[in-house]
């Protein structure tokens, strides 16, 4: 599974291949999709394959597949976008261009390691590796803004990740009564959770939540997220938003399993449900007055992180997987479209953009559909998963959180509909530099098609299968 991204990373070390590399990388990752699905198939059939501290369990399989889809779409669009951008005269040397592919390959590998690690030490190392590999990717353009965003990202996430390390060590210290030594393996932790010192375990979980929560962008720790997502090149934004945020949330999910096994499920609920609700409402309010296309998308990611946090908080693994999948594919489609729009208009200022529909009907339709999808309207998958989430949260007694979520989702819908509506139908201030190429919208359109299918496919048997998948590997 690790082979193809690794091959891509190696190929990036040879700067002479700069012209062919984008398409080689795209093809490699497209081949990767069926390969990963095939490798993860046993998990869907109910068996776990282990390789040392890593194993493909239900969560691992689901998020590995999501990561692969996101990475493949991002690399495919990068093959269209980045060479076109270089032809426009952005001063990017062959060496830096190839380094982009090396780092992307390593970044994808690190993102595979996070959901597959069933060992809280390796989990931490993998999350930290994603930070280190993605920081140079954000700074691809070497502009002042991207440099500032990168430094903020590196610094805030390093502090966050240090907290997560402290939390991990505290969980280790909570096992002081174990006679045969401490363990970091998730299976042992879950099996012996009740013997742990509850005080240190709680502290450990709180520190881990602070740490991985920073990485996931839970309010008020989301500060780095809009900057990093808006300043990086669009394929990287897509990977950050569609795959990296999921990774951090999976880490929180893993640790919450230990705490729940220790009989402290209340703590998980009391921390995550309010945190998620506040994140949703805060992000929706910040969405209203955005005047930057990619920042708007980034805040929408914060909002969806809030929803996912609530899903973890109410202990619903199946909704976590379902909504993460739906959000990832739609958000990736939007970020990739945003990359195209920035290329065509030369700006991402919402007040200067417009009349996409007139320029290219394909782009206009895809954008409008993606806007509806991300705002959570039927018949897209996001609608179903948000609706199920609201119902489950209400049923589990989190009534205040549900009400806040409904308000947040309504505000979000209005804000996104207004912004995207103006983009698609309004008049532009800045004339377009080039004409949009319809083929650039094909990959996002395909992703939206998947989202549509996901929306139509959700039915009781599918949800049952997802529940079994989410609980695979949790005793």
């Amino acid at each position: 599974m690790a082979l193809l991204p690794f091959l891509m990373a190696i190929l990036g070390l040879a700067p002479r291949s700069a012209r062919r590399l984008p398409w080689i990388a795209a093809v490699l990752l497209l081949v990767q999709i069926p390969l990963v699905v095939w490798i993860c198939l046993p998990a869907f059939l109910g068996s776990i394959i282990s390789y040392g501290p890593f194993s493909i369990d239900g969560m691992g399989a689901a998020f590995t597949i999501i990561t692969t889809l996101v990475a493949a779409a991002a690399m495919f669009q990068a093959a269209l976008l980045l060479p076109a951008e270089r032809a426009e005269g952005h001063a990017i040397t062959d060496k830096r261009f190839c380094l982009f592919y090396t780092l992307s390959g390593l970044f994808i590998l690190a993102m595979y390691a996070v959901p597959l690690a069933r060992h809280i030490g390796y989990l931490w190392i993998a999350v930290e590796a994603t930070t280190l590999m993605s920081a140079p990717l954000i700074n691809y353009h070497h502009g002042k803004d991207s440099l500032e965003a990168t430094w903020k990202y590196l610094l805030l996430c390093s502090v966050g990740i240090a907290f997560a390390l402290f939390g991990t060590v505290l969980i280790l210290a909570a096992q002081h009564s174990f006679t045969n030594g401490e363990t970091m393996r998730l299976d042992d932790l879950i099996a012996r959770a009740r013997e742990m010192d509850p005080r240190l375990l709680r502290l450990g979980f709180i520190f881990c939540l602070l740490g991985y929560g920073t990485k996931a962008g839970i309010f008020p720790l989301h500060n780095w997220l809009p900057d990093a997502h808006s300043e990086s090149p669009s394929p990287v934004s897509a990977m950050l938003s569609g795959a990296l945020l999921n990774c951090a949330l999976v880490a929180i999910w893993r640790l919450s399993q230990v705490v729940i096994a220790a009989g402290q499920g209340n703590l998980v609920r009391q921390l995550l449900v309010p945190a998620g609700a506040i994140t949703v409402i805060a992000a929706s309010l910040m969405l209203v007055r955005q005047h930057d296309l990619k920042r708007m998308l980034a805040y929408s990611s914060v909002e969806h992180v809030g929803l996912l946090t609530i899903a973890i908080g109410i202990g619903s693994g199946q909704l976590f997987i379902l909504h993460a999948f739906n959000h990832s594919i739609v958000k990736v489609a939007l970020f990739l479209m945003a990359g195209g729009i920035m290329h065509v208009y030369g700006t991402k200022d919402l007040s200067k953009l417009g009349s996409v529909l007139k320029k290219s009907p394909v782009w206009g339709l895809v954008l409008a559909a993606a806007g509806f999808a991300i705002a959570g309207s039927p018949p897209f998958g996001t609608f179903i998963s948000e609706w199920l989430l609201l119902r489950n949260a209400f049923d589990s007694g989190a009534i205040t959180a549900t009400i806040i979520m409904v308000i947040g989702l309504t505000v979000t819908f209005i804000a996104i509909a207004t912004h995207i509506g103006r983009l698609v139908f309004g008049n532009e201030r800045n004339p377009a530099r080039t004409l949009p190429v319809s083929s650039w919208a094909y990959a996002p359109a395909l992703l939206l098609g998947v989202s549509l299918l996901a929306g139509l496919a959700v039915s009781p048997p599918v949800m049952r299968a997802l529940t079994i998948l989410a609980n695979l590997g949790v005793k």
Partner: protein, 214 residues
């Protein structure tokens, strides 16, 4: 609470960190970091001799080589190459910073019962590592230069390392090594960015990086 030798050394590290709060010369700060890590490696060796755990000596050696030799050497060179000497705090001066550092040390000490493992020998060390984490954060928040922020981060890491040494029986050595190398790579990447910030902004004063406000 009785102070063991290890607790005493842990307190020395925390006091060193407090002292660093009042230092504005970047090179002196780097030396503070070297001293901290050296004492920390000493604790690791002592624990290994007391508990007959040979792997801790190897760990102590690796930590010493990376965090007390390689990283400070790199930071020192970086400070020299971009010719910076002093880092005056953002909004609070060195004196106030020193006093807040003292306060954090006390807070860490009083939080000892909440964080210490009851069956362990060196209880005060838990409080001291907490103080180190807090002081590291203080350094990161109040310093202007990107370089000093890295030093603050390393102080935080030292605190976590101290906690894992004194409050847990054993952390898997492979994980511990992974963490140390991760820190090394992190500092190297941060170093590359420091040079880059220096080149495009002609300074590494992060308070002047405020273009991204919307």
């Amino acid at each position: 609470m009785n102070l063991s030798q290890i607790d005493l050394l842990a307190a020395v590290i925390a006091v060193l960190a407090v002292w660093m709060c009042g230092v504005t010369r970047v090179k002196t700060q780097v030396w503070g970091l070297v001293l901290q890590t050296t004492v920390l490696s000493g604790i690791s060796v002592m624990l290994s001799l007391a508990g007959a755990r040979i792997e801790l000596i190897i760990l102590a050696f690796v930590v010493f080589m990376i965090k007390a030799v390689a990283i400070p050497f790199f930071l020192y060179r970086a400070a020299k190459r971009i010719s910076i000497v002093q880092d005056k705090g953002v909004s609070i001066g060195p004196t106030l910073s020193l006093m807040i550092g003292c306060g954090l040390l006390f807070i860490g000490y009083f939080l000892t019962p909440a964080f210490a493992v009851s069956s362990m020998m060196n209880q005060v060390s838990a409080g001291m590592s907490l103080a180190l984490i807090f002081i590291g954060m203080l350094l990161m928040i109040t310093r202007r230069l990107a370089l000093s922020q890295v030093i603050g981060f390393l102080t935080m890491e030292n605190g976590i390392f101290l906690y894992s040494l004194t409050q847990t029986h054993h952390m898997p050595i492979l994980v511990e090594m992974g963490i140390v190398f991760e820190v090394l790579i992190g500092v190297l990447i941060a170093g590359v960015f420091i040079f880059r910030i220096n080149r495009s902004f002609e300074h590494i004063d992060v308070t002047d990086m405020r273009r991204l406000r919307h």
